[in-house]
């Protein structure tokens, strides 16, 4: 048992730590023994999930190769040999809607942060922050139902229709908004949903700008607007990471999106065309995936793609945020 002594050594109290005031202190740190499995559990779970996804997606990779990600065919057939699953449309839909979401969420959260930090009176300020944080924590189905019954009809009637009518020569406005369920609706809804996340990060960063820089901008005889622009430049990395983390959330959002995107295997740049996202695809197809021989691995492959996108996006976002926070400390 060569491992055992290692563990014992790991869990032993360090010299001089807590031992000064106690004579008969135990040599093993019990609290350390109790708490350390938690982190091991999290790590194991991470490795386990990644393995499970990869292992289960493997048949799809073997059968179709990487085309499972790059082809837009979704052919469920009773005869197993005719089945073919390509995820190009949902992957495109995921990225497209998330980008729309960020384009909407970013300006709103920046404006929101500047207002809350610089202008809002103290009492209202906390109220705004609480509301915003609460919106971030609402169950997403609440957004989904509101989106499907209120937002989509509104957008279709007052935004999509006029844009299509007058500007349909522009490629992104060229698809007719027949039902209103579309990339556009999903993107707007996602934008509304991730705004609280992005603004939480940007607001914190904007609040952390040392007071001396605020004084410096104003001492140069700049207007509030010019000063704010400089300070926003100063927190640019934090804004960027806020955008990336919000993108990560938008990519993963499932129920609300599946209610408003139209769930169609479509690969279009037209904003008003219905589409699919990976997560809404998995949620919709999971129930009947067992009927078909090859569908489940394809769904796992989709899950793996999401896993990896989410991983990269979050790691990059958090890394940038940490690096910026370190730079800000005077």
């Amino acid at each position: 048992m060569p491992l055992f002594p290692f563990f014992l050594r790991y869990f032993r109290r360090k010299k001089n730590e807590d031992t000064l005031h106690f004579k008969n202190i135990k040599r093993i740190d019990t609290l350390k023994v109790i708490t350390s499995p938690a982190i091991i559990f999290v790590l194991l779970l991470f490795v386990w999930m990644l393995t499970v996804y990869f292992y289960n997606a493997l048949p799809a990779f073997i059968r179709e190769g990487l085309e499972v990600y790059f082809r837009n065919t979704w052919q469920a057939a009773e005869e197993a040999s005719k089945e073919y699953y390509g995820l190009a449309a949902p992957i495109w839909g995921t990225i497209y809607t998330s980008i729309i979401a960020i384009l909407i969420a970013l300006p709103i959260s920046i404006a929101d942060s500047v207002f809350v930090v610089d202008y809002a009176p103290k009492k209202v300020k906390n109220f705004f922050i609480i509301i915003s944080d609460m919106m971030a924590g609402l169950p997403t189905i609440i957004y989904g139902i509101w989106g499907a019954f209120v937002l989509v009809p509104f957008l279709q009637k007052y935004v999509m229709m006029p844009l299509y009518k007058h500007l349909s020569f522009i490629p992104i406005f060229s698809s007719p908004p027949i039902t209103g369920y579309s990339y556009f609706s999903a993107g707007i809804l996602l934008g509304i949903m991730v705004t609280p996340f992005a603004s939480a990060i940007i607001r914190e960063a904007y609040q952390m700008v040392p007071f001396t820089y605020r004084e410096a901008t104003l001492s140069l005889g700049l207007t509030r607007y010019e000063a704010t622009k400089i300070l926003l430049g100063y927190i640019k990395p934090a804004i960027f990471s806020g955008a990336i983390l919000a993108f990560g959330r938008a990519v993963g959002e499932t129920v609300a999106v599946s209610l408003v995107i139209g769930n169609t295997f479509n690969l279009s740049i037209g904003l008003f065309a219905p589409g699919y996202t990976i997560s809404s695809l998995i949620a919709n197809q999971f129930g009947n995936a067992f009927i078909y021989k090859h569908m489940l691995p394809a769904l796992y492959a989709g899950g793996l793609a999401l896993f990896i996108i989410g991983l990269i996006v979050n790691v990059v976002g958090l890394y940038l945020l940490k690096r910026w926070q370190k730079n800000v400390e005077i």
């Binding site: 040392p210 001492s219 140069l220 700049l222 400089i230």
Partner: protein, 254 residues
């Protein structure tokens, strides 16, 4: 035009309900270094920020009385604080060049946003002038595009001085500019201030009586929000009238 750069008339400053500055009458002549000294918390920085209306950043601050800059009351109703701040440069206790802007841009930003220069050539000239004036040019001329992080504390502080000078102010407010600088950097900055006083009126806040003695022409001693004594530096340090001042300059009172 008054011959005083700054004149205050019964100036009182409150934070919420606390009276921080308790009625100050002060006259600061042009082209001198006026040192404002006093122990920590006596209101030096607060008083300094009343001279360029930077105090208004703090929502709790309230001001009574008058501050005249070259004879003009800057707290009159029709005065725009932004135009006041353009004429008064400020240097802070912590060297605070904008870390996300290159050295060149740190000096240029005020000029650019205030539309004080017409073209790139003029801008280059003015940036160079400001950096030369703050005797930093020789040290940074080859790395104008680098970020200020690569500069030492003293260099950063001179960059901030250049940033202020670029707007060609008439008055320079300095809030303990050497408090966070090493001795060599401090020496350089003091030498620089000595040269600058030919063209500018400098108000120097310091908590070091020795610094005031070294470089200032006039000294005001501020204690608990009151101006205890004002006069020529020589007089204050050699024959102070007030017992408090004597205690402070001899280091008994901290």
């Amino acid at each position: 035009m008054s011959k005083y750069a700054i004149e205050t008339k019964n100036l009182k400053i409150y934070y919420a309900d606390n009276e921080i500055i308790k009625g100050i009458n002060l006259k600061i002549p042009e082209n001198t270094i006026f040192a404002l000294m006093g122990p920590s918390g006596c209101g030096k920085s607060t008083l300094l920020r009343a001279f360029n209306r930077l105090l208004e950043l703090n929502k709790d601050a309230r001001i009574e009385g008058e501050v005249l800059i070259f004879g003009k009351n800057i707290y009159a109703d029709d005065v725009n604080p932004i135009s006041i701040r353009r004429e008064i440069g400020m240097v802070f206790q912590y060297p605070n060049p904008f870390p996300h802007l290159a050295i060149y841009d740190n000096v240029a930003i005020g000029l650019k946003l205030n539309h004080l220069v017409r073209n790139k050539e003029e801008m280059d000239k003015r940036v160079r002038w400001a950096l030369e004036k703050s005797s930093l040019w020789d040290e940074v001329k080859d790395r104008l595009r680098e970020y200020p992080a690569s500069l030492s504390g003293g260099q950063k502080q001179r960059l901030v001085i250049a940033r202020a000078l670029a707007l060609k102010p008439k008055i320079l407010l300095m809030d303990e500019p050497t408090a966070n600088i090493d001795p060599l950097g401090t020496k350089n900055i003091e030498k620089l201030l000595f040269e600058l006083k030919r063209d500018y009126t400098i108000i120097l806040v310091t908590h070091e009586p020795a610094q005031a003695a070294r470089i200032s022409d006039y000294v005001g001693f501020l204690y608990l929000g009151k101006l205890i004594e004002v006069g020529l530096t020589k007089d204050i340090f050699e024959k102070p009238k007030s017992e408090l001042t004597e205690k402070y300059v001899t280091g008994v009172l901290v």
